[in-house]
């Protein structure tokens, strides 16, 4: 526990005042040294892949294969139901074994899941991968490709990308931002991608610029990744600008990133497009390049397997649907982990089983030992105000937590409950160890239930 808190990581070299940032936020120890120097490795083919039908935010997707069907790698196996939805594709060639109920890593509840038995050949659909010049394609064609490729935000939010890239006509977009902040401690998947395959990111970003019709893109990278900053600056064309960001959590949160890079404030309840900005993660940009240039849908991603609870932390290129068990085995096995987390330590979701698959949004799997995490109970709020200082959204988390304790969601809405982005800064600093984010999630669930009820009535 003691070494969790450190002011500024050692490898930061600039003066704070020179770097762009936002108001509020915290400085957790970034702990990236566990995994950041391990090059991206590939996992051997697994026997079975488990593709959940709901890999994204929005409407569910419907399976379009039946048990027994033969599938090829990159073949679509689900189709989206609705505009805000995304398809999934087979991660390898083989046979659809069955469609079962599986624990969903995000909700912890059972959800439909397509099991694909690998035939070991790993054959692409005929004609793939193709070679085409994406810059010769029209805007609508590109968005169509992105949509059919099932690309979602790969930073963890998993919002379907084609929706973000289709702003309504009245919203004038003038800035495209590539999010390379990777402000979550421990994780280094974006860092490795920027270091090893920067061209894919830049080219993906150029496709997005073409779609949005903007002539400027900014890549924001936190100062604790000097190598990535150097690399990106080397190869970035003039229209893509690399900006150094102060190391501070949550620097990579959409609204905070836009504020730091452009000085614009996304209005409360609004979207980045309201201030003329669109943000995409580095991984998403790379996936967009693969889809538009090579016709390969989103079937694999870079994931950091890290933490002191895994024997050999690694950065892996993983297919969507890979069983987590296989991943752990490849990394030397789990050693007394108290928590298994999908995502980073600040916003990731704790898992209770390893019978779950890798998803499109799994930027990392973090295995924390009992010493690294926080298992103690909470006590009453002592009104110290640290959460207020830390809140990047300018809220009063202490009030929200008290209202959460009593389930007073109506009062909490008046305390700006719905502006909370659940970044966890308040909870990190709380000396009384109050689970403020949990209270906020709880209040939001009450609010959702009540408004659903009101709509139904």
């Amino acid at each position: 526990m003691r070494n969790v808190y450190r002011k500024v990581p050692d490898r930061c070299h600039r003066k704070d005042s020179l770097m762009k940032t936002f108001k509020g936020g915290i400085h957790p120890n970034d702990k990236k040294e566990l995994v950041e120097d391990n090059p991206i490795a590939a996992l051997p083919l697994s026997d079975h892949y488990y593709v959940l039908t709901q890999q994204h935010i929005g409407a569910p997707a419907k399976p379009i294969v039946k048990p027994g069907d033969e599938v090829k790698k990159a073949q679509a196996i689900t189709e989206p139901l609705g505009f805000v939805s995304a398809a999934s594709h087979s991660p390898t060639s083989g046979r659809v074994k069955e469609i079962i109920q599986r624990v969903h890593p995000v909700t912890g509840l059972l959800a439909p899941c397509i099991v694909i038995e690998s035939d070991g050949k790993d054959e692409y659909m005929p004609g793939l991968p193709l070679e085409r010049d994406p810059f010769s394609l029209q805007k609508d064609e590109l968005i169509g490709i992105i949509k059919s490729s099932g690309i979602v935000g790969m930073g963890g939010a998993t919002f379907p990308t084609h929706v973000k890239l289709s702003p309504p006509k009245d919203k004038k977009i003038d800035t495209f931002i590539v999010n390379g902040a990777e402000c979550e401690p421990y994780l280094a998947s974006d860092y490795r991608l920027m270091l090893e395959e920067p061209q894919r990111i830049i080219d993906g970003a150029r496709i997005v610029m073409r779609i949005l019709g903007v002539d400027k893109a900014i890549i924001g990278i936190e100062d604790n990744k000097p190598d990535a900053i150097k690399k990106m600056k080397e190869i970035a064309p003039p229209e893509v600008q690399v900006e150094v960001l102060k190391v501070k959590y949550p620097q990579g949160a959409e609204k905070q990133l836009i504020n730091a890079l452009t000085g614009r404030d996304v209005p409360s309840g609004g979207l980045p497009m309201d201030v003329g900005a669109v943000v995409q993660n580095t991984g998403t940009c790379a996936a967009i390049w693969d889809a538009c240039a090579n016709g390969i849908p989103l079937i694999e991603r870079i994931t950091s397997i890290t933490g002191r609870g895994i024997k050999h932390p690694k950065n892996l290129r993983l297919r969507v649907g890979t069983p987590v068990k296989d991943v752990f085995e490849f990394c030397g096995g789990v050693v007394d982990a108290a928590k298994i987390i999908f995502g980073g330590p600040m916003m990731g979701i704790a898992q209770f089983t390893d019978e779950i698959p890798i998803m499109k949004g799994t930027s990392g799997i973090l295995l924390l030992t009992e010493d690294d995490t926080n298992l103690s109970t909470y006590s009453a709020c002592i009104s110290c105000g640290r959460c207020v200082e830390a809140c990047p959204m300018g809220l009063i988390p202490s009030d929200l937590s008290k209202q959460g304790e009593k389930g007073m969601w109506e009062k909490a809405v008046g305390t700006n409950l719905l502006d909370c982005v659940e970044c966890g800064s308040c909870t990190f600093v709380c000396p009384a160890n109050r689970p403020i984010v949990h209270f906020v999630k709880f209040l939001k669930s009450l609010q959702r239930a009540a408004s659903a009820k009101a709509k139904g009535a």
């Binding site: 009453a380 009030d399 008290k402 304790e405 009593k406």
Partner: protein
């Protein structure tokens, strides 16, 4: 300066609620919510000033000349009761939500010893009409101040984990006690 001292004395030093312990009933009853407390304070300021004005006149021009000082209490209660009725009707008409919120405590201003107390004290202290009215405003301000800060604290109590045994009135009384201890600090400020 004299009037400032008069107000300070009535509002802080001899705060009606916290050092004279008058008007405890509405102080406890209407202090659960700041907005209601503000409304109640306004009503009290209005009633107190008006009551003082009327009772002083009645005392000065009717009771005193006729040598009927012993009727003070009864006459004052009569006047105050009618005044409160009047205020009640006005509020009900002008601001129904406030009327709802004040509930039973509005008619209770009638028997609010603070209002009667002010009227009687004015006679005892031999204040002039202007003095009496200013004193009444000061006293009402003090009442309002105590009520509003108390309401603020009680609103916070709603969110706190007070042991079941002390929830509600017990904790309010304890808090009022501590608050009045704190207000003792003003003693000696004005003679």
């Amino acid at each position: 300066m004299y009037y400032v001292l008069l107000i300070v004395s009535a509002a802080l030093v001899n705060n009606f609620v916290l050092s004279r312990f008058l008007g405890i009933c509405p102080f406890m009853g209407v202090s659960k919510n700041i907005d209601t407390a503000v409304g109640m304070s306004m009503a009290v300021i209005f009633v107190m000033t008006l009551a003082t004005f009327v009772t002083w006149l009645i005392n000065g021009y009717l009771l005193d000349p006729l040598g009927l000082q012993y009727l003070q209490t009864i006459a004052f209660i009569l006047v105050i009761a009618s005044l409160v009725q009047l205020v009640e009707m006005i509020i009900q008409r002008v601001s129904p939500p406030l009327y709802q919120a004040l509930g039973i405590f509005l008619p209770l201003i009638t028997t609010n010893c603070a209002v009667l107390g002010v009227a009687l004290l004015n006679i005892q202290l031999k204040y002039s009409l202007l003095d009496a009215c200013i004193f009444a405003i000061g006293a009402a301000l003090g009442f309002g101040l105590a009520l509003v800060i108390f309401a603020g604290m009680r609103e916070d109590f709603e969110l706190n984990n007070i042991p079941v045994a002390f929830k509600g009135t017990p904790i309010a009384l304890i808090t009022a006690g501590i608050l009045s201890l704190a207000f003792m600090g003003f003693s000696g400020l004005v003679k």
